[in-house]
């Protein structure tokens, strides 16, 4: 095979080189992240020992509007028992997130990731996506969407993790 054919073959092979992101499933360790937040840096490793309810949200996501009051309730109810709700905003423009927060306040830790690096690492498949992470840093459950009938199951999972 001459050199030109070899190069052509190599270039054609690169057509099939796209690699899918590894899915973050229950039982897997939660990928590390460090992001700027509304009140200083938010680092997942620093929250080890607490049960973390990690929620990926955006201002344009309808169910997120519904989930915020619920997440405020959860933080208030279980915060003393060791729950920390962390909301990671994925808006490209910070102004959109601020407008949303002015209408729907959040009483939990907020982080901002406009580049979308964290959801890529977590292989987020829908908006919103929430992960329940145990005190050992391992994912307990991954949940996409937020519907009325799912609230009880989510709360039960949080309560069970805090035992």
């Amino acid at each position: 095979m001459n050199r030109l054919s070899a190069i052509t073959l190599a270039l054609s092979a690169s057509l099939f080189s796209a690699l899918p992101a590894a899915a973050v499933e229950a039982g897997a360790p939660a990928p590390e992240f460090t992001l700027s937040g509304s009140r200083g840096t938010v680092n997942l490793a620093a929250l080890k020992g607490k049960v973390v309810y990690l929620d990926f949200w955006a201002s344009w996501c309808g169910p997120c509007r519904q989930s915020f009051p619920w997440m405020n309730d959860m933080q208030a109810k279980y915060g003393a028992k060791g729950l920390q709700v962390v909301g990671v905003n994925l808006d490209a423009k910070r102004a959109d997130a601020d407008k949303f927060l002015a209408e729907v306040p959040a009483n939990f830790t907020l982080a901002f990731d406009a580049q979308g690096e964290t959801p890529r690492r977590y292989a987020v498949k829908g908006m919103p996506t929430s992960l329940l992470i145990g005190p050992d840093g391992k994912v307990i459950q991954v949940h996409a969407g937020f519907r009325e009938e799912e609230r009880k199951q989510l709360e039960d999972a949080i309560a069970a993790a805090l035992k």
Binding site: T8, L11, D96, G116
Partner: protein, 74 residues
């Protein structure tokens, strides 16, 4: 094969290899798609205009969803 043809094929496969970079939008990148203007029936007024123009040009009415009219035009 003529060496110029070979060079052209080489260039083509290089360009096609670049196409593997493109992916559909990620779930968190769909902010613009979520805007009400982006839905099929986003602007009711624009829909009525389009319906009227179509009905006028086709010299026939109907087949365009519920409601509309009320003025005897369909």
């Amino acid at each position: 094969m003529h060496h110029r043809t070979f060079a052209a094929l080489l260039l083509l496969s290089a360009c096609l290899a670049g196409c593997s970079v493109f992916q559909p939008p990620q779930p968190w990148e769909k902010g613009l798609l979520a805007k009400p203007e982006m839905t099929l029936g986003g602007d009711a007024l624009e829909q009525r205009f389009d319906q009227h123009i179509l009905n006028s040009k086709e010299a026939a009415a109907g087949g365009s969803g519920v409601g509309g009219g009320g003025c005897g035009c369909n």
